[in-house]
């Protein structure tokens, strides 16, 4: 669900299944010896520019360390998840692999598949944004390193806002609803939404929960497995207030995100005034637009508005990113290689390509895109951070949040019913 995770089968062409088998057969070497070491690396950056950037970094590292061989397996997002499940059942996770942190990483930690790298990364962990590292920290121990981080906010079409007479970006939910009414009255679709893929919808409920109940409420809910609280019901009610305005495009329940007629394409073609999306929105909009250029200068960003009387602050960010976890049998040089790819220079390479937003603080100077600069500065100034709910919680709970919010948006279930459904799944875990 990140911009690195966009579906593309092209990258799979180069990555034959045979390579996996060979890799799996050859990985019995002792984990601590200093002899020849092989690092099996699975990532989901299966398209350029990151595909080539990772390959170059691996090549450079191997040239400098003759005893280390790095076997790269680029995988499409869904294929990666399926393949990782199979590999971990055999108790043989790859040495370095894609992780989004949060609930799935915790399950992997609980199953003893991931290495505690706290001590190894201690010398350089302070070079990273603390908010970015948080999803990879479980019970005070670090199990993964983020190389990309971003946040969700409203991306809006300045021209359409102007045409509807909305002059200032709304700062409260009430103002936001007013703006939606104005835009709709002007004959413009206020919001593009990919209802077929439920995760874009869950952003609304999650942000509203943060604004109403604060980050503490979300943490508490995860600890108690209880979402049936007045704060979460209120968040759902606020979302329902929006849904009741019919702000979304025609047929949004069947719309995809990454498609010319989906959420990103509609935004990129100027067919809707705004979307609530992560930092990858401008590039995806451009790619899916008819002109392949997107909105350009007409695109603006504003943070999710505050809710009157809410406990959360507007400076608290909701988002996530991409990182790598280290497998339990990984050779010693894996964390050293991780340190290498997380050097400021290497982070700048990925950043300059426009594919990632750096987690290494000093690499922020390599951000070229003005929109990305806004996201990065909002993130750097954030007073709190919440990982995407469908990644922060155990997968079953996260998916139930997505399903339930989709039902709320479709109008089949009410705010008080969905918190009960989510709680029931959370309790069953």
């Amino acid at each position: 669900m990140t911009h690195l995770a966009r579906r593309s089968l092209l990258g799979l062409a180069g990555a034959g299944a045979g390579a996996l088998l060979l890799g799996a057969c050859g990985k019995d070497e002792p984990s601590t010896s200093s002899g020849p070491q092989t690092i099996n690396w699975w990532h989901v950056s299966n398209t350029d520019p990151m595909l080539g950037i990772w390959a170059n970094m691996a090549k450079e590292y191997q040239n400098a360390h003759s005893d280390v061989t790095i076997k790269i397996q680029p995988l499409e997002n869904e294929a990666f998840k399926a393949k990782l499940t199979t590999a971990t059942q055999a108790g043989a996770p790859p040495d370095l692999f894609q992780s989004w942190g949060g609930g799935v990483l915790k399950q992997q930690v609980d199953a003893g598949l991931v290495k505690d790298i706290t001590a190894d990364v201690q010398p350089w962990i302070d070079t990273l944004l603390p908010a970015a590292v948080q999803p990879y920290t479980i019970d005070g121990k670090i199990y993964g390193i983020p190389f990309d981080v971003g946040m969700v906010g409203f991306w809006y079409n300045k021209e359409l806002f102007g045409r509807a007479g909305v002059t200032a970006a709304p700062t409260t939910w009430a103002e936001f609803l007013e703006a939606v009414k104005k835009i709709k009255a002007a004959g413009i679709v206020p919001i593009a939404l990919a209802g077929k893929e439920k995760w874009p919808g869950h952003f609304y409920w999650a942000y509203l929960s943060m604004r109403v109940g604060g980050l503490a409420a979300l943490k508490q809910a995860a600890a108690d497995n209880n979402f049936d609280t007045p704060d979460f019901v209120a968040a759902g009610q606020h979302l329902k207030d929006l849904v009741d305005l019919s702000p979304f495009q025609k047929g949004f329940l069947g719309a995809a995100y990454t498609a010319p007629d989906g959420q990103s394409g509609i935004m990129g073609n100027g067919g809707a005034a705004m979307e609530l999306m992560g930092q990858w929105a401008p590039s995806t909009e451009a790619a899916q637009s008819t002109s392949k250029k997107g909105l350009g200068d007409k695109l603006g960003f504003f943070p999710f508005p505050a809710v009157d009387g809410g406990k959360g602050s507007v400076s608290e960010a909701f988002g996530g990113g991409n990182g790598f976890a280290v497998g339990k049998n990984a050779p010693k040089s894996t964390t050293d290689f991780l340190k290498y790819i997380m050097s400021a220079d290497n982070q700048r390479k990925g950043t300059a390509s426009g594919s990632i937003l750096p987690t290494v603080k000093v690499a922020a100077d390599a951000i070229a895109d003005p929109n990305n600069k806004v996201v990065a500065s909002s993130l750097a100034a954030a007073t709190g951070f919440q990982l995407y709910l469908d990644q922060a919680y155990a997968p079953a709970v996260g998916q139930q949040v997505n399903d339930s919010v989709a039902e709320l948006i479709a109008g089949t279930k009410g705010p008080d019913k969905i918190v009960k459904d989510i709680t029931a799944v959370a309790k069953s875990q």
């Binding site: 499940t85 077929k196 069947g254 479709a410």
Partner: protein
Amino acid sequence: MSTATLTRTPAATQERGRRPRRPGRGVLTIAGFLLPALVLFVLLVIVPIVVAGYTSMFKWNGFGLPQNFVGADNFTRAFGDPIFLGDLRRGGILIVLSLVLQLPASLALAMLLNQNLRGRAVYRLIFFAPYVLSEVTTAVLFMMVFSPGQGLGDTISSILGATGGAAFADPDTVLYALFLVISWKYFGFHMILYLAARQNIPRELTEAASTDGANPWQIFRHVTLPLLGPTIRISIFLSVIGTLQLFDMVWVMTSGGPIHGSETMAVTMFQYGFRRFEVGYASAISIVMFGLSLIFALFYQRLVMRRDVEGALTTRGVQR
């Protein structure tokens, strides 16, 4: 299983050493030819079924080995799960629609294309063409055709006053929209089956009927249709089994949505297995799917297709 066959065979040959060696060698030859297929069958069919049956009794997220044994809990959960029960209901609707609309339409087309029409080879080709496309291709194609506000199909159906592409975004209509796409893809296949069977019916029979004064409907009803029986029965069988296992097309077109409106058993299984990582529960769903298909196949073959399997038609006229 396969090794047992191998080791037993030479012993059997030795026992019967004095006898003519031909039968023994025959067994060995058969075993030799069967072995590769048998190994593949056991590895790719039997073993996964057994493994799925085993994991279906655990509460297991797919990481590490299954340890939390829950017995039949996953199965009782499935039959209390509104989504899964909905899958069964939706599957039932699709099956009924196929039997009532899709197959009769295919049969009618086959009868039509059996006539001496000008350019009937072209029609046959065109009607059969959709079947050649993969389900994924079909799904992508139709999502483009019915893309709201952009697709040709959506525009035309809007002009005609129909809902068009929006039908795929409405939980109440999506299943029927999906059925149309399924029918578009598969009617040609059933049509070709019927057409082939129709052409195997000797002309003398229909001619004799018409000489006896039967009108075209009577000929169809009392001569053609009974003789098409075996083909119709196998076509129903294929249609039902295909519907029970429907996945690719639904996944690409709607992912089972909106609001589970087009979800099938296979989609639910995928959601639980690879989205929610409740692999134990997903295994249980797959076992139920397997069970339903197996029960249907066994009963259908036993009760409906028995005459066909025993070759009733071919032996009836032949002196034994």
